[in-house]
């Protein structure tokens, strides 16, 4: 269609030059320009992929990848990570009762404690995560079920986006924050205690600031109204159905951490990419250079068990991890680099052999008939 009318002019059958046929006119040769571009003779680099030409690349890749891989692997191994599942699926698990007797409407929270032992001390800052398995935060309709302009303090506070349905309005009152993501906010409370040698419980201070992205906390999420009185700002809205308290009372301890800019909320709203995920919960800061952040020994995790996961065969975990420049513990990348580097090195050797055996012959190649 497009091509067929490329030179429409000639095909229209118009006598071309209706008026000027007789005119003298300078006869201009139609000879095409003899330019390198038009004659397709632009200078070109014409690489041919043969063993000889690519084998340096393979060796270079091998030489670069293997050290990177070793570095990654070592770094990953140096990361200390501790993980404990507190779902309470088994009868002997401390949270079994809480898990069984769950209802969103429970007024009295169910609590349970899990004991664990750290065999090695955690030296640097420790990140405390909660992990969920089999939770499809990436489900299409779930992902959509939010109103970012509401969360940004926009006008849609009282008229949330239709994407939030059916968590848009409750009893004719707009829900703030609306949508299924907010509605299913993770609401277990985790507290960590160190058990002394003498058996006393020392609460470990958990920092809840700085767990969200800086840009989320300061740009993407904003409270409406701008006035400091959040109760006033959220007037005319109602809390999500599953929530126990409204959004402006999420963190009674810190008035700056309430409303849409509550960091736990922000972290939850950044929906996980994969069904098994962890989310940063608290940070345990290193206090002094002499004592480890978390010395080895016995610990107790106190859980206010609010969040049901058995309906989807899910698991809940608490993870303690130190962190490096490459993030959390993951030996995969290191192993992958070492493997690929080795393969490339090996292929390089194979290509070297091939090059010696065949490539010299190519230059005297006779083209087969």
């Amino acid at each position: 269609m497009m091509a067929s009318s490329y030179n429409a002019k000639e095909e229209d059958g118009h006598p071309s030059g209706a008026s000027g046929h007789g005119g003298p006119g300078v006869v201009k040769s139609k000879k095409p320009d003899n330019t390198a571009f038009k004659q397709q003779r632009l200078p070109a680099w014409q690489p041919i992929l043969t063993a000889g030409t690519v084998l340096p690349a393979f060796f270079v890749i091998g030489l670069i990848f293997i050290p990177i891989g070793i570095g990654l692997y070592v770094t990953s191994n140096n990361i200390k990570e501790f993980e404990i599942d507190y779902t309470g699926v088994n009868m002997d698990s401390p949270c079994y009762t809480c898990a069984k007797n769950f209802s969103w409407n429970n007024t009295t929270p169910c609590t349970c404690s899990v004991d664990f032992t750290l065999k090695q001390p955690f030296e640097s800052n420790v990140f405390m995560y909660y992990g969920l398995s089999n939770f499809y935060q990436n489900h299409r309709r779930y992902v959509k079920s939010r109103d970012d302009s509401q969360l940004n303090g926009g006008r849609s506070l009282t008229d949330p986006s239709k994407e939030c349905e059916p968590y848009r309005k409750n009893d004719e009152l707009p829900i703030a924050p609306c949508g299924a993501i907010a509605n299913s906010l993770f609401n277990d409370t985790l507290e960590l205690f160190h058990i002394d040698s003498n058996g006393s419980r020392n609460a470990i201070p958990l920092v809840k600031k700085g767990i969200a992205w800086w840009t989320d906390k300061h740009v993407k999420f904003r409270n409406p109204g701008g006035n400091s009185n959040l109760t006033q700002a959220f007037l005319g809205t109602t809390k999500p159905v599953n929530w126990r308290k409204p959004v402006y009372e999420l963190d009674p301890s810190d008035p700056e951490n309430n409303g849409f800019i509550n960091e736990d909320f922000i972290v939850w709203m950044r929906t996980a990419a994969l069904p098994t995920f962890r989310k940063l919960y608290r940070i345990i800061q290193k206090k002094s250079s002499t004592t480890p952040t978390l010395p080895s020994g016995k610990y107790t995790l106190d859980i206010i068990y609010n969040y049901p996961v058995l309906s989807f065969d899910g698991r809940k975990r608490m993870i303690l991890s130190t962190i490096s420049w490459m993030g959390g513990k993951n030996p995969f990348l290191g192993i992958a680099y070492i493997t690929v580097g080795s393969i490339c090195f090996f292929l390089g050797v194979v290509l070297l052999i091939i090059h010696h055996k065949y490539d010299t012959r190519n230059n005297s190649a006779d083209i087969p008939n």
Binding site: M1, M2, S5, K9, G154, A272
Partner: protein, 1111 residues
Amino acid sequence: MTWRSPLALMRDALRGQRARDKELRNLVSNLPYEGLDKAKQPNRHFPSNAIKTTKYTLLLFIPMNLFEQFHRLANIYFVGLAILNFIPVVNAFQPEVALIPICVILSLTAMKDAWEDFRRYQSDRKLNNTPCLIYSKEKQFMERRWKDVRVGDFVKVVCNEIVPADLLLLHTSDPNSVCHIETANLDGETNLKQRTVVSGFLFEPESFTGVVVCEKPNNNLNHFKCYEKPDKERAGAGIESLLLRGCTVRNTDHAVGFVVYAHETKSMLNNNGSRYKRSKLERKLNIDVIFCVILLFAMCLVGALHFLWLQALPGIPPYLVPDSSGHLDGPSLSSFYTFFTMIILLQILIPISLYVSVELVKIGQIFFITNDTDLFDEETDSRMQCKALNITEDLGQIEYIFSDKTGTLTENKMVFRRCSIMGTEYPHKENIRLAVLGEPESEEEVIFNQRPQSLQTGWSLDAEDTTPRDTTQRRGSRHRSKVAGIAQSDVAFSSPLETEVIPDKKLLQQISRAESSSGSRKTDPYLDFFLALAICNTVVVSMATAQRRRSDNLRYEAESPDEAALVYAAKAYGFILLARTPDSVTVRLPSGEDLVFKVLDTLAFDSNRKRMSVLVQHPITKEYVLYTKGADYAIMELLGTPYAQHHLDCYAKEGLRTLCVTKKVVSAKVYESWLVDRQRALAAIDNREELIMDTAVQLETNLSLLATGIEDRLQENVPDTIMALREAGIQVWVLTGDKPETAVNIGYACRLLEEEDLLVIDGRTLTMALSPDLQERFVDLAKRCRSVLCCRVTPLQKSRVVKVIREKLKVMTLAVDGANDVNMIQAADIGIGISGQEGMQAVMASDFAISRFRHLKKLLLVHGHWCYTRLANMIIYFFYKNVAYVNLLFWYQFFCGFSGTAMIDYWLMIFFNLFFTSAPPVMFGIMDKDVSAELLLGVPELYRTGQGAYTFSTFWVSILDAFYQSLVCFFIPYLAYQDSDIDIFTFGTPLNTVSLFTILLHLSIEIKAWTVVHWVIMLGSVALYFVVTLAYSAICVTCNPPSNPYWILQSQMADPMFYLVCLISTVVALLPYTFHVMRNSIAPSPIVQARHLDRLDPSEREQWIKEWRSF
């Protein structure tokens, strides 16, 4: 305008409809009605002369253009998907956003269409406002514009003006009532043609009260019939009295005509746009698109596994979102929805921009082909023309070439070489020497210096008593209509070559002997022979032009080169054709006397009779003499006296084209009775052509022979071209109307026949061979022969041969023709016209037009190879690219419960396809160069090996590769980010980046030659990706929910993991190319070997090619 009742209007409209549809139209002059209401105009039903070639109107452009575009299935598919996205339960993206790609594609195409239509509008307007002269009430011609011309007007056209509408010629300034026209605008023929005034008509516009009855408009340029009813008798007129719109009036001061067709002119009806051919590659492409659709459905069905996943859930998890009423769909219904969501999500598996890109690539390829200086012919100043715009890649797929001889392999510049008169051979040895030297210019001096001295003879001049008689003789012989180079409109077969006849001394003596003895008024065969050469033709003598001929400023405008050759030959012997009018021919004899022959009739050439005759009355003897000229076999069967075939055979063996000239004296009685039949035939309006032909055959009997041989030289480099084409694995067939001997001779000359496995077949045998029961065996036999030569075949047979081979062997065929075998050209997959000396019809009907046969070599071996490999690789790459990218989304479905989530921001997905990765493949398709032109020409065998670039297996290998790469691009980041706190769109960022790098690097490996353009576009694409994505991530806080990729790329780019993931994924994705590398080293394909040779410096390369050739 006065008010008229709707009923009257409707009645009038119906009447108009009826008037237009009638087989015969009655037209009257507008003059008496001038100034009256439109309703009172008798010719109001016929359309005015304003033309409108635009497809669209301003108001209706959008609906009409959309309607046009929706003829393409792919567009409907994408619009359907976009609409599907508006259904809330299945939508994968924001509905408005999903419309963007299809809107971009549609509006790009619409913009291009609008621009083209605007250009048409401009040229229409220019044409409609061209001034012309129309006779008005004021009894004079008034200046009006073309669009004002109406049926029934009298229009005056002056010299060098273009005829505004189809005019019935009523008056000319020429005393012989003829008007010369040039039809270059219609058919490219630059020779002059004569048109004659309708006989028996006195031109007085005011008193023109008759009714012109003419047929319904049709598109036959060579046929027209009408008669007038000037109340008295029916006077017929045909095409010889019709001035066609678009012709130019030449050599005639002015002419006046009656408008019979305005707007529905023959030239307009002939203009039916360009043809649409679907290339072989495109057909394959469509099949693969269907495979993609199947693949898409399979993937979507996998998506419907959602169902199983849902059923495995023990309860209702918080992440399943019910609909607004709080109701959650059951597993099966939700799977059903998921299926459609997946179709929307994975839709770009069918590449939306593929068709547009293919068209862009073809435009680019055509640009390069037409701009190739090697395909430019200096002599005629003509470039290669691509008429069919979408089959360039088929040039690289040719397996069979069918070629005509005359004008294709040969120059079709005829030179009189030998003749045989009364059984005596006059070999004209001097001419042979000249031809061998082949330096015409330097020989010019020799040409005329041997002009025989004028001899006094007793012949007296006869005053011509020409009575105006109805004549139809000037029916242009339309078989060999012809053109001399497009650019040199002032030269028609008058280049020096044809005139180079050096008279044979023996023959000169014979003539002078005959002349001196013809005082007795006896006709002598020698004189007759040359008189026949001078008379028996339709050559027009033109004197009005510049003094190109030296002594005598005669210029001959012949419709076929052999006619010109014969006239020039006669001239060389002193028989000079001085003038030709419809009624007489003036010939100057060697003695210096001018003889005026009265032309009684001309029986024009037609391809059935293969001969033409002129019936003249000898001014001295008053005998009626019929001179006939034609192909030897067309004449032989009519000979009254048997004639030794010997000389003719001998000529044919030398590769000369043989023509026979005959003479017959017709008695007055026979003539009279024949004339009655002839008149009846001419006046007939039905079957006129057949009747006229019958009468011609009637007269052409019992002829007596004079013979001649004409040489048609081979074009330069023909043998070399044919050799190269055959080395390229192409079978070359020559189909010619010549005698077997001539054909075989030419075959040897052009190195077509050097093998033993040769099949020569003549027309009659071919008829049998092509009969249904023998077809199979014929094709089987032909397949085994290295060369096939068909001689004495008719145009119809040529096209049948092509058709049979094409259909039975399922091969790509190409037909080359230099004249007018339109049938053959259209029967083949590709028709190539050679715009040479003769016949523009072939060029008009062809897909590609070249000016020399040798251009075929570069056109096929280089451009064909390039176009095909480029396009094939580009298409494969396109499929690969889309599958590789879409599969990322597909793999993700296994981790999001088959819910149809995209982890890449939708805008970025659109941009990815529309901007970041679209220019490189288009550039690749236009500019890639696997092997240099020199090598492709030097080693024609590469042509064959290049033909397998796009096959079933290459397609599936690339799809598999795409699957592998997408697996790598997905699972390496997946494993690296497993069980981390990464969010959806952050996870999508490395995936998107990795696939961009993989896709572009994959192309980089495929690109065989990197020029500046390549570097700019490839690096530009990567830069564009980062700039656009960074900018978008910096701006979009809440602009595109739910992704809103605010600061995502920025934070990723600050994270070393991102680079490490991208690096390893890209390397692993491209690792399979190692096999490719090993194959290139261990068992390199011919193309790879050729590329090795290409890297040598030119002299060394020459050496290699030569060395290789010697095997």
